[in-house]
Symmetry: C2
Subunit: 330 residues, 2 copies
DNA sequence: TTGAAAGCGCTAACAG
DNA sequence: CTGTTAGCGCTTTCAA
């Protein structure tokens, strides 16, 4: 199958150690020899076997990026951020998608570790990481996104509580009193914190939190649609606004509301979270809490890179600021 | 850093070859020994080093998937298809995003080959693959998506010509005569074929193809917006419908039209291509040519898998059928 | 400046 | 059933 160092050494009439040195740019090689070797290697189309390199150098120049849902544009946006930061430093990133499934998450983690990635960036599906216990000791350096951790790992988080608080407060300022919370994966950090922000805003404005109007399921459009549909059917429906924990959910909520022939925002106002690209479409114009997605990815890689280079452990948490983008659904 | 076979061999008091056998499920190991070994390995949290395994077995149980734009939901949908098919067969997939950049594409290809992936699935940015010449000989088996190739590789394609033809014919049947074509990356197969389908439909209906109304740029929203904006500004604007080569483009086109206070579909009708999730939102309701995205991914992997297993080379091309989904923009 | 040789962690003959 | 050993492709001492 593949061309090895030996092949090109034979062709060049030198030992393969010399070829190795020439190709990896060691200084102690005769310039002429080096040039000759490089030329031959190119002509023959030699590609070093990164596997073997990794085996001896104990580094693979790859990182793993685990995300829960590639079909939610929020995550691809982050992925682009890490990918580009990584490529700049010569790292390849392996993107893995878990569908919010703990088992798949575990499986990928295993694979990635076995593949000896140098580092890991995770946006875990769940706050509990007991299923990830085994990695604690033997895994490579890692950075979490949107997940608070209590050990020595770093995490990049958005101030979810604040974002949610702003969103709900905005609704309250618009005169809404009966505001629903529609959330995603119950135990995810994102969900828990955004719910907290919601409650905080309600309480500080002396508004009651009615549990009939606090519902959660998955972070996707179907869930939003389904939950809203059910609420709308409730006997004494009286909601005038909903804060949904991400934009995909919001899109589902909107759909359900439309089907009831209610008007947005006149009858029901909506605020989302994330500010995915599609939230700004002229037909959608979703009011939402914006996160610096691309930047989060970039920072995540940069922090990871520092760790790999053994630099100071830095801050444990990097907290980014959300910002409310007011459009036409509120 | 890591725990090796030897460590657990020492602990178990056997040779490390035995450990290897026990753990990889060879039959010729004493049941009791095997159980003991497995227990110890688990307790110690042993993870085999896939790098080393790959080195000796010359297979890595990984495949590479290269896509041009992770932020266009079309590709994540395909990605999910391959990922899930892959995981079912015990393969991990490494997703790489090129941003339609040939150099990045080349770079990833290199990395992936160096990492000894067992196979490759590509949705190339460009019809020309001269920049990929070097892989022809030494690369692992590969499958192309949406790209016609003339060598021995397989490719999964949608009948783009037919899809485009249907789309345009639908517009013609609605009475439109002045129909624009707004395309993406000029040299991509998708663009070229969809353009061909457009022309074919026009010609077969005795409608002239006006080059002022055949424009292309990138396969994204901004391009669609920009091109449409320009057309709208043209002195003798007379278009009544546009066929855009993908949905992202269509979204941009819609936005431009909206800003001109024209009505869709009354003043201008629009048909897209792909049927991404967002095309079906109630606010969008984009008429579009639907592709079986998830399925394409699945098939791509399955075909690749057959190749890996050395099974018959099968068909060179697998052509899938598009289907026009008529919604409210036409 | 170069070659010889050890060894990274593992699998797969080959013996026993 | 289990141990010994060669070798996957490469980098890196150590000598020459």
């Amino acid at each position: 199958m593949s061309l090895t160092l030996k092949d090109i050494a034979k062709e060049a009439g030198v030992s393969y150690a010399t070829v190795s040195r020439a190709l990896s740019g060691h200084p102690e090689v005769n310039k002429i020899t080096r040039k000759k070797i490089i030329k031959i290697a190119e002509k023959m189309g030699y590609q070093p076997n990164a596997i073997a390199q990794g085996l001896v150098k104990n580094e693979t120049k790859t990182i793993g990026l685990i995300i829960p849902d590639i079909t939610n544009p929020f995550f691809p946006a982050i992925a682009r951020g890490v990918e580009e930061a990584a490529i700049e430093k010569g790292y390849s990133t392996f993107l893995c998608n878990t569908n919010w499934n703990k088992n798949i998450e575990k499986k990928y983690l295993n694979v990635l570790i076995q593949k000896q990635v140098d580092g890991l960036i995770l946006t875990p599906s769940s706050e509990s990481t007991t299923h990830l216990k085994f990695i604690e000791e033997l895994s490579p350096p890692k950075v979490f996104i949107n997940k608070i951790i209590n050990n020595s790992d770093t995490s990049i988080i958005i101030d979810n509580i604040k974002g949610a608080y702003q969103a709900v407060e905005h609704l309250i300022n618009k005169g809404h009193k009966k505001i629903a919370y529609i959330g995603g994966e119950k135990y995810s950090t994102a969900n828990k914190e955004r719910l907290r922000g919601y409650k905080k805003a309600m309480q500080q404005n002396d508004l009651p939190v009615n549990n009939d109007y606090v519902k959660m399921k998955g972070f996707n459009r179907d869930s939003g649609y389904f939950i809203m549909k059910e609420m709308l059917l409730g006997e004494s429906f009286e909601i005038t606004a909903v804060f949904s924990a991400n934009d995909m959910l919001a899109l589902g909520v909107i759909q359900a509301i439309r089907e009831s022939n209610l008007k947005i925002p006149e009858d029901i106002a909506i605020v989302g979270f994330d500010d995915i690209e599609f939230a700004s479409l002229p037909e959608i114009q979703l009011t939402t809490v914006s996160q610096p997605k691309y930047q989060m990815g970039q920072i995540a890689f940069d922090v990871l890179y520092e760790k790999l280079k053994g630099q100071k452990a830095n801050e444990r948490r990097i907290i980014l600021e959300p910002s409310l983008v007011i459009r036409e659904t509120s």
